[in-house]
């Protein structure tokens, strides 16, 4: 079972410094990447800070 129609190629272009992407697939992906980065970076920061808090908690 194929989920996309081979007669209509979907563009999945990378944004780069000289051109932004405009098609909807790339646009969705760009928003998704931004959300993923925000969440994962927040997790990383939280764990960094918790490593210090742990000190206080365990005494």
């Amino acid at each position: 079972m194929s989920t996309i129609d081979p007669s209509k190629p979907i563009r999945m272009t990378q944004q780069n410094t000289s051109s932004a992407t405009v098609d909807p697939v790339s646009d969705n992906r760009r928003k998704g990447v931004r959300r993923t980065v925000t969440i994962t970076a927040a997790i990383a920061l939280a764990f960094f800070l918790v490593s210090f808090v742990q000190i206080v908690l365990m005494k």
Binding site: I4, T13, S19, T36, V37, T40, F47, K59
Partner: protein
Amino acid sequence: MSHAATHDHHDDHHGAPKNFFQRWCMSTNHKDIGTLYLVFALLMFFIGGSFAMLIRAELFKPGLQLMQPYFFNQLTTMHALVMIFGAIMPAFVGLGNWMIPLMVGAPDMALPRMNNLSFWILPFAFTLLLSTLFSAGGGPAGGWTMYPPLSLQSDSLAYVVFSVHLMGISSIMGAINIIATILNMRAPGMELLKMPVFVWSWLITAFLLIAVMPVLAGAVTMLLTDKYFGTNFFNPGGGGDPVLYQHIFWFFGHPEVYIMILPAFGIISEIIPTFSRKPIFGYKAMVFAIASIAFLSFIVWAHHMFAVGLPLGAEIFFMYATMLIAVPTGVKVFNWVSTMWGGSMTFETPMLFAIAFVILFTIGGFSGLMLALVPADFQYHDTYFVVAHFHYVLVTGALFAIIAATYYWLPKWSGRMYSEFWGKMHFWNSVIWVNVLFFPQHFLGLAGMPRRIPDYNVAFANFNMVSSIGGFLFGASQLIFLGVLVHGVFFSKKKATDRVWEGAKGLEWTVPSPAPFHTFDVPPVIHDDELAHGHVND
């Protein structure tokens, strides 16, 4: 390319830049950055390996032969730091960079410029770390675990902490990039539960990385402020506690050892089905086993601290939690064996390394179970038994998987077949000598030889000599690997087909060999038959 003159901007069609600096230093291409990671890891593997050769030379006979004890301690510390952070981890990141976009049908990583930064931090971090060996006070000598107060005595602490920060930033950025790629860049039709197991293993590993690398960064930051800024996090004289460092370190450290083995599980789960010509047995169970191992890895850290005097309840909790990991690990080993069962197997070099992985990693798992028993660990802790344990899981585990992956995907990378004869020579020499090297260390540990010492009781002389001989020959065998690689990348006359291996399935085998500079600019049309796991939900 001929039409390059008419395009003065970057577009989807250009090949690799001709200019060396442009191509390698400014790269945003996942394949080139993957290659950089792999070459860097290989270099670090030989540097870390030369430290190991010096260690085994000193331990060849009892008594001090070649070096002062303080230098020996620098060697054991540096060997571990270089191998863990410089060789094993970057090798997995390199494999992930190369293969994940190809396996999920993405044109590149989600964040290509951050990818460049993640890599190029590493040469600076390791130049800094290795340069401490040439400084007046010498390099770090307190062990890779950097326990205070011992580690605070070293003059190079600030350099080491800074280089660990750099490695941590690099790993975190790399992990974020991998998660963003897998979650957002898959070609239409590549559902999560149709992804190759290798991609799954990296997705889960990346979450481990973003959770624990910051904790390591926190721990070493506190070492730095304790030494230079008057804090007393780990100083009992000021109300601190050195055991807290161990808790924080191992909260990072145990997930870290799984960071070094989960991508290996992924690799083995790709190779065994290919050479057994059968789909993997229990695809979903394999994915869930990886996820549950990752979860459990957060609640077992204190098994590294049984001997510090934990409350009895904690000893028992961490003992049982640790033993629980044997369950999902057993599922994986069972499924690899079941995949081979009844398959039409062939034994090319990648498969040989994969089979050796299954057997020898399991030996390391069993010695791990022995160490997980609190009363037994009181005896084994800080002996060569621990050294034997983690070298079985890391050398015949993680490293063998990296070598297997290299043989497996090299034809796709270079477009040429490596020499099967010399690959097998490399395999048989490695598998024999690695056991001569590490198996006797179990006996040394059980007999009471402590780890991290340059001299030892004459009672341990024979097994140490055997181990050193195995070490030299295992080290020499890796020169065969180097030769096979150079030949297979630059000189081999035998061209690789696109599929390379008869039984290979998945998107990465649908692109030409060598893989062109840009792949999947237009997402592939996915036929479930072409995927290794296209029919799991049918």
